[in-house]
Amino acid sequence: MTLNLDVYYKYPAAQLSIIVRNDLHGKDGGNVGVGIYPAAATSHPSPYTVPNVYETQRLNLAAYDNQTVNGKVWFFNDTEYPDPNRQSKWQRVKLDLHTFLSENALFTTNSLTTDDNGASFTAYLETTSFTTSGTLSENETW
């Protein structure tokens, strides 16, 4: 005779600390769009700490094109940059580990897990607004 004992249990979903931000060649700035699925992304200043987000939820993220920040125009997924390694993209960053997510300006994450706790979902924007005369005031990438 075989006796099976199945145990079913529930535990509350863990609340996560997640930041969504723009990376403007190493600096923050501009706006990013964030919504907890199925809510559409709405605009927030970068960086934005997502409130009340839990594991198993998904995020609708939006990177905004043609943003002007400190006099420079930043774009997402345009084709101005010739280097394929420097196209605009979304990455998940945690403890300096970068994970590619998407080249689409709008996308929905996979279900969040506890491993996403402390991660930042980062939109890497690019610019062709360059300092072509005078003194550079910050790091610049051409």
Partner: protein, 247 residues
Amino acid sequence: MDVTLTGNVTVPSGITLTVTPGVNINFNGYGILLDGGTVNFEGGDPNCVYLKRSGTLNGYFGAIQPAINYAGSGQTVELQARTYNESPSFSSKSNVTLLGQGEGSTTLNGGISVINSSYITVSNLTMSGALSLNNNDHTWFSNATVTGSTLANDYGGTVNELYRVTASNIGASFGLNAYGGTGDLIESSISNGDCAVYLSNDASYNIGTNNTFCSNGADIDAENGAYAYAISNTYSRSPYPVYGNVF
């Protein structure tokens, strides 16, 4: 993608300018100057002309002339091992060096002019045109080869030092051609020309030691008040084809 400079760009201390692969910088006559900052060419150096001081990189230029124009006293305009299609000039400059990577490595398709300047050095390159000197003081021209052209024209400069320079196949022309001025020609070679050294209008040059003259119509000709003091040279033939005030 092109980035066109509209003025000099200065990279100050603590700032990095990164140039990604595929980006073409149109220097447009300007330069990228380092004031303690860093430029990182991820796609490799785009054949820049360097501006240095005591071996320290001070800036990048897209051509020789803008670098010379910007260079201050004590700075060196350093060329790479490649061919430049320019005929640059120094005008009213002092204590500036134009330095190639060596004869046969750095080639200038053109000549060089030095006007109203002092303590100018040109060294380590091959040129297709002459070094033209006009009213200068202390010009140093060394370790250079001039092909198919006059080696140097001097119009009234003082203390022009030509050291280990070579001019071959100068043809129906002069090698060193001085209308006035003073200087020295040392350990150099001039061949296959009408006249290797022609001095006139009170020019005074020391020709030696250890110059080699070969297959020239005349090796030294000093006329119209000019003087040449020739010491320990090898001449095209015997008797030596020297004329005028040659001692």
